[in-house]
Amino acid sequence: MRAFKFTPSSEPEAAVKAVKANSEAKFIAGGTNLIDLMKEGIEGPSELVDISRLNLTQIRSTSTGISIGSLAKNSDTANHPLVRRDFPMLTQAILSGATAQIRNMATNGGNIAQRTRCPYFYEVSVNCNKRRPGSGCSSLEGYNRNHSIFGFSDKCAAVNPSDMSVALAALDASVNVLGADGKTRVIKFNDFHRLPGDTPQRDNNLEHGELITSIEIPKSNFAPHSYYLKVGDRASHSFALVSVAAALELDGGKIKQARIAMGGVAPKPWRAYAAEKFLAGKTPSEENFSAAADSEMKAAIPLEHNGFKIELGKRAIVLALKRAAAGNA
């Protein structure tokens, strides 16, 4: 690990200023992702600006929905009564990830900004366009069992590992950020993460020094009929092979609207727009769920080892929708 300067901060503006002033500086929140990356020599910031003491931990209802502080812990967020009541799918998604100990340290901002778990990103002796832009991608012709089937490019096929982000994508959240100029801006959740294209080194659309201050989720009627399903190689403490956040608004035995997002299948949380569109106005039956899943998964492109994700994705969509429709009383 490279030696670094440690800069505590107590005001968001000061933190932003400090990072902006040093092109090699980074924010550190819970540190559960960044410190690992530094120990492995993947990230080597010359300065860490500690934001863990910033007063950005509130979780409160607003006139339009709920606002979740970027520095609220993952555990506190998942277990907050408002979140449990209005967005139980977010609770499920957060609790499906990592371990209790890690969730007690991890923050919401850090969670959505966490980096990929592609093994070649972590193995510094081999090429990786995310780690060393332009060096080449080792996963496309390597062991890509847990890589993307949607949205990848010839530069990178890594998946975004965050479970929380999948639920936030389905719930149409937005991200509030504070910029270096002291101005705030709002990034719609689906514009927060990026597809790799020719610049896989950039995971999201934050500019250097921009600080996530909160995440907002708009009010909705999905709470009674939503479900987060995660399929992994072990029952807990593994990243998703495929996950599905499924939410239904039912009206008189018909689906008024559906929201579906997938994890483990793309470089960003993957909104299944085709499936959502298919379901609007239909009855919530297994046949319709299955047809919706097919409509989404037909666009998937498998790599050498991850073809199973197409079938698994279909089935996971069906099961998540089925459980959402059954309700989570």
Binding site: P119, R234, H237, S238, E311
Partner: protein, 706 residues
């Protein structure tokens, strides 16, 4: 603690437990050593290469760095010491990805670790054999052929009415004990002290002595507490030598700890096995032929193979059998002993095939097994000293509720889940090996305390406790009057905690020593005693306040005339998500006949631990090698999936009482390995019963059951 002295067999919590949970137990790197420097290993990023040069300039200039050890300045060694993984830094050559090529020594760990990134190795790559699946056809007869034959397998197989002819695959597994391997090396003149995590205290002592040309007595190994090993700490690995070399180079003690990532290519592995099993039976369910051919890999530098076919050779009494091995030397770290080497992986193949044949015969798999074993070991014609297979099958069937099982797959469904039941049996050889003990008795009035000294090791398994129990009961003292000192080569040489020999070897030795102490004391009193005297009475009558005696215990000659194994039966209830293919094991039953159980609690824990690793084998664990470079892409606990709590349902453990005085005087068979044997097959068989899908390629990840 109980003042009772009848403690053998009781469920007694580990006497070192308090020390451990309060942080008082020193593991190897915990020892406070003055003026210690820190080593960090630089690993090869090539699977085969000659090293043209190593540039250490930048590393040497980095803050805190004292020296960089490479092939250029490493001392020449005196001998190989039969080090696992070969002697290193003797020549500019690399034989596998991750081989140690340099050690940076600095004042702090962080400085050493950072400077290790600055060492530049200039490789001349050589052709490397790293793709096992592509080249397994080139595997050759092992140098030490371990195959065996009886009867005429080919003729019997061709003639048979019912057969199974299938190939079973197991991936590379890693031990990954909780405590990574670590060493502190301290030289005082030509004497070397190693605080080193080891399963076999004297093994490391002798190996390192041979490497440096020292007398074993000049190498002092200290390892009072070991944080798990599973075989990977059974031998001396190169990093132990490197720590000692580095300490010599910088003239300071050096602490060298492997990182979790390092552990994947530093201390062995369980190799990938391709097992071709052919079974044949008559229509009435009598096995007529067993064929078991294993193709596997070893290192280019040395041969190690697991005896996957061993279980097939001795478990069932088919008249015709053919067991064979082929091995491919590869540029991958050498495999080593891994919990139940051979039996654990072999039983997956054998016991899956038995289940397949039972289906082919439309026979209940319990009935089929009962019909095909005998009380004589068919591989060598010797009688089993005892064998609890039938009792274990019967008891386990009751415990799991076998009557709920339907032969027809996919018969039981509950909501989104398909439910199935499976069974598999296993065994592991039981052996006692030479092991010495010193007992020291001290008396103050009527109060006698005993100190037991033996160079045994405790991997968290309970050695301290069973030694204390044995000594207490034999001497007639309460356990808190017995102090156990182990994990130090200054004590009399002992067996290692390997191959399930520990309990049998330690406890028989301790018991013999305590009996000898009493006998010698009695002789010294010159009296005959009507009622059996206490040790205190004996010492008083002999007018002694202190007494000590030592026994070098040996296995009996009688035991060699028999075949001795612990036998088990496993039963699993498996729920498979009909949508996602995810497999859960809400219940697993393990019934074991393992002779005398010294401590009901620690023995149960050993079996549970074995079952958990068996669940890992069945469902989650696999190390994946990238055939382009020979590196493991699974390189942390994040991607090498040992089972998490949620993967492990209820494990019910039962023992069949056995009184086997042939295996050894105390009748101990050992429980360290047998617990894992058969577990993966039991789960895979249950998954077949649940889904109708036979997976012959571990692990049963969701993709394989879609």
């Amino acid at each position: 603690m109980a003042r009772d002295t009848k403690v053998i067999g009781e469920a007694i919590s580990r006497i070192d437990g308090l020390l451990k949970v309060t942080g008082g137990a020193n593991y190897s790197t915990d020892f406070p050593v003055k003026n210690v420097a820190y080593g960090f290993i630089v690993k090869s990023s090539n699977a085969a290469a000659s090293i043209k040069d190593i540039d250490t300039t930048a590393a040497e200039k980095s803050p805190g760095v004292i020296a960089v050890l490479t092939y250029k300045n490493a001392p020449k060694v005196a001998g190989s010491g039969n080090l696992s993984g070969g002697v290193i830094l003797q020549e500019p050559k690399v034989d596998f990805y991750g081989q140690h090529v340099a050690v940076v020594v600095a004042d702090t760990y962080e400085q050493a670790r950072y400077a290790a990134e600055l060492v530049k190795v200039n490789y001349e790559p050589l052709p490397a054999m790293v793709d096992f699946d592509a080249h397994k056809g080139e595997a050759v007869e092992p140098q030490r052929g371990r195959g065996s034959k009886r009867g005429d397998f080919d003729a019997a197989f061709v003639a048979a009415e019912h057969k199974v002819d299938q190939t079973y695959l197991t991936p590379v597994y890693h031990h990954q004990p909780l405590e990574p391997h670590s060493t502190i090396a301290v030289w005082e003149g030509s004497k070397l002290t190693l605080y080193n995590a080891s399963q076999v205290v004297n093994g490391v002592q002798n190996a390192i002595a041979a490497v440096f040309g020292l007398k074993p007595a000049d190498v002092h190994v200290v390892t009072p507490h070991v944080g798990g090993g599973f075989g990977s700490k059974g031998s001396a690995w190169p990093h132990v030598v490197l720590a000692a070399m580095a300490a010599k180079l910088v003239n300071r003690p050096v602490k060298l700890a492997l990182t979790r990532q390092n552990m994947f290519n530093s201390v062995g592995l369980r190799q990938r096995n391709v097992q071709h099993v052919r079974l044949a039976a008559s229509a009435d369910g009598k096995l007529t032929a067993i064929g078991h051919d294993t193709t596997t890999h070893t290192a280019v530098t040395g041969e190690f193979i697991e005896q996957c076919g061993h279980l097939s050779s001795m478990m069932y009494d088919a008249p015709n059998a053919s067991i064979g091995y082929r091995v491919l030397p590869m540029n991958v770290i050498i495999p080593t002993f891994t919990r139940a080497p051979g039996e654990s992986t072999g039983s997956f193949a054998t016991e899956s095939a038995i289940d397949e044949l039972a289906y082919e015969l439309k026979m209940d798999p319990i009935e089929f097994r009962l019909k095909n074993f005998s009380m004589t070991d068919p591989s060598n014609g010797r009688p089993f000293s005892s064998r609890a297979t039938a009792e274990a099958l019967k008891k386990g069937a009751e415990m799991i509720g076998w009557t709920k099982r339907k032969m027809q797959p996919r018969s039981i469904r509950n909501g989104d889940f398909l439910i199935g039941y499976g069974v598999a049996i296993g065994s592991y050889p039981s052996r006692q090996v030479p092991s010495s003990t010193l007992v020291k008795l001290k008396r103050a009035g009527n109060d006698v305390t005993a100190t037991i000294e033996t160079a045994a090791s405790d991997l968290g398994t309970g050695t301290y406790t069973i030694v204390a129990q044995t000594a207490a009961e034999t001497l007639g003292l309460p356990m808190d009057k017995v102090e156990v000192k182990i994990g130090d080569s200054e004590f009399p040489p002992a067996a290692g905690s390997v191959g399930s020999i520990g309990a049998a070897s330690f406890c028989n030795s301790v018991s013999e020593t305590c009996i000898q102490a009493k006998n010698e004391l009695q002789a010294k009193t010159g009296r005959t005693w009507v009622a059996p005297p206490t040790v205190a009475q004996l010492m008083e009558a002999a007018n002694l306040n202190e007494y000590q005696t030592r026994v070098d215990a040996r296995p009996s000659a009688e035991a060699q005339k028999y075949s001795s194994h612990a036998f088990n039966a496993n039963f699993s209830e498996v729920w498979v998500n009909a949508y996602t293919g995810a497999v859960r094991v809400p219940r697993h039953v393990a019934v074991t006949g393992a002779g005398k159980i010294i401590n009901a609690k620690t023995a149960r824990s050993q079996i549970i631990g074995g079952c958990i690793w068996g669940i890992g084998m069945a469902l989650t664990e696999a190390s994946i090698l990238d055939p382009r470079w020979g590196n493991f892409v699974t390189r942390t606990y994040n991607d090498y999936h040992i089972p998490a709590n949620l993967d492990v349902g209820t494990i019910d453990v039962a023992f069949i009482p056995e009184d086997d005085r042939v295996v050894n005087r105390l009748g101990i068979k050992g429980v360290g390995e047998v617990g894992i044997v058969g577990v993966a097959a039991s789960i895979a068989n249950a998954a077949f019963n649940a889904t109708g899908k036979r997976v012959r390629d571990l692990p049963l990840t969701p993709d394989k059951l879609l």
